[in-house]
């Protein structure tokens, strides 16, 4: 009896958290990198499903993140040695997303509590994970800051506060522009609904970015049959050289 009551209580307690659900979709969940690939637009849209009227209290926030495949990165710093600028210090980050974009419906600080950010790893600094190996420098912060700065300059990391358009606290959409220097892999999209800084509901789906056609064939060949690929590159060079010499000769005559 007590157990049943407890169960009912927890259900009741849990109910408000499930009172708002995300229903979402993507304009496309497959991106093919062809030879003429020049970036891609992707639209993430959705609605908030409610079983009852919208709850009173803090306003609704929507955060959409798009994250590329993770990989290790080494950050090196140059300093002057014997009059020449050389790489001296380095910091290895075990896992940093190759692409990371955050779009929000309002300034991030207003709709996301710092402790929620730590759990969900939403803001850019938290998306970088653990350092690889022992850290040899006294202060690693300038290195991670440089990683974020360089990737932001390259258009790979971005935070667009206010880029999520929220209509009537129900419908939302976010437009992402994926740059041309994308790497292939599985991209993860996460959508968070927040109220008062806490996550009310979240939704996760994947976008597959793949080389297609010739790009795929060449890449696979270069990795799996490196010798054949090398021979192919050489054959191409020798043929082009021979053809040039022949064309020369024909033009002269």
């Amino acid at each position: 009896m007590i157990r049943l009551a407890l169960l009912a209580l927890t259900l009741l307690a849990a109910l408000p958290a499930r009172a708002e659900d995300i229903v979402a979709g993507l304009s496309h969940d497959n991106i093919g990198i062809t030879a003429s690939f020049n970036g891609s637009e992707i639209l993430i849209y959705g609605a908030v499903k409610r079983a009852e009227p919208e709850p009173e209290g803090p306003p609704l926030g929507v955060i959409v993140t798009l994250e590329g495949p993770d990989g290790p990165v080494t950050i090196r710093r140059k300093s002057r040695e014997f009059g020449v600028w050389v790489n001296t210090d380095s910091v290895g980050v075990a896992s940093a997303p190759s692409y990371y974009a955050v779009a929000t419906s309002a300034p991030l600080a207003e709709i996301l509590a710092p402790e929620t950010d730590v759990i969900q790893r939403i803001s850019v600094p938290l998306a970088l994970r653990a350092f690889a190996g022992p850290i040899e420098v006294t202060d690693a912060r300038p290195f991670t800051a440089a990683l974020m700065r360089i990737r932001t300059e390259d258009g790979l990391y971005r935070v667009d506060e206010g880029a999520v358009r929220l209509v009537e606290n129900t419908l939302f959409r976010a437009d992402f522009h994926l740059p041309a220097n994308l790497i292939e892999g599985d991209y993860t999209t996460r959508i968070f609904l927040t109220r008062g800084g806490a996550v009310v509901d979240q939704y996760r789906t994947a976008i597959y970015v793949r080389r297609v056609g010739l790009e795929r064939w060449l890449y696979v060949l270069s990795r799996q049959h490196a010798a054949i690929y090398g021979a192919l590159s050489l054959a191409l060079a020798v043929f082009a050289g021979w053809a040039a010499a022949e064309a020369f000769r024909l033009l002269r005559n």
Partner: protein
Amino acid sequence: MQIYLPIAEVSVNAFLLLGLGGVVGLLSGLFGVGGGFLITPLLFFIGIPPTVAVATGANQVVASSVSGVLAQFKRKAVDVPMGIVLQIGGLLGSTAGIWAFNLLTRMGQIDLVVQLSYVVFLGSIGLLMLQEALRTIRRQRRGTQKRVKRHQHNWVHKLPLKMKFRASGLYISVIPPIMVGFAVGVLAAIMGVGGGFIMVPAMIYLLGMPTKVVIGTSLFQIIFVSAFTTMMHAITNQSVDVMLALLLILGGVVGAQFGTRLGARLKAEQLRVLLALLVIAVAVKLGLDLLLRPADLFSLTIPRGKP
């Protein structure tokens, strides 16, 4: 028109690459060099990762050397035995060079070594060429005859393992050609160049070969050294980008035709002065990059060798 390079994983303008190949081809046709020393730094400038630029540069050198050597064979200006001896040294040098390249890449110092090699070799060879060409021009103005000094007997002629090189008219030890081949092989692997601009002076001044056969023989052996370098890079680093190579080669072939025609209208010494100035300009640019405070002290590298 943007094109996505499958190995470099960057998107670049295809016309920019064709143009780059074309300009280098033009200079290559004009001056009779492979052009690798220009293409690799130019690829750095447009944002191709250094490992890919070096490996693909070697592939492009194969094409221009094949094109050049075929013409030289018709003129019987290739010393095949000498080429083969240089080759043996070259292959050993290439292997050592690739090993050094991988070691330096892991240590994060590859950019420095590549840049330093460029500055030192381009700078000194450019200055030597400029001096030599200016001296020739001055001498022609004065109308004095060129003094021809051949068959100087120095330490090179006292070494064992002598061999006859008929086309060059030489009877020398195989040790100096092997050493020259080795040195050029190491540079080819590290710098992504054929090494013609080092090989040619070494053959003339160190080995005492007649100028007539030097270019053909140099091109002949460069084909094999850079083909070997390309294969090694393709297998160990998987960093040859065939799409990038194709565009550079296409541009280069067209450029070379215009270059040869333009070259026919200029005097040999004027050409050498121009080439020397170009070589020095590249060396100065790369040297300043090392000496001046870089715009960004930080750089990112993605460790290679992922599945």
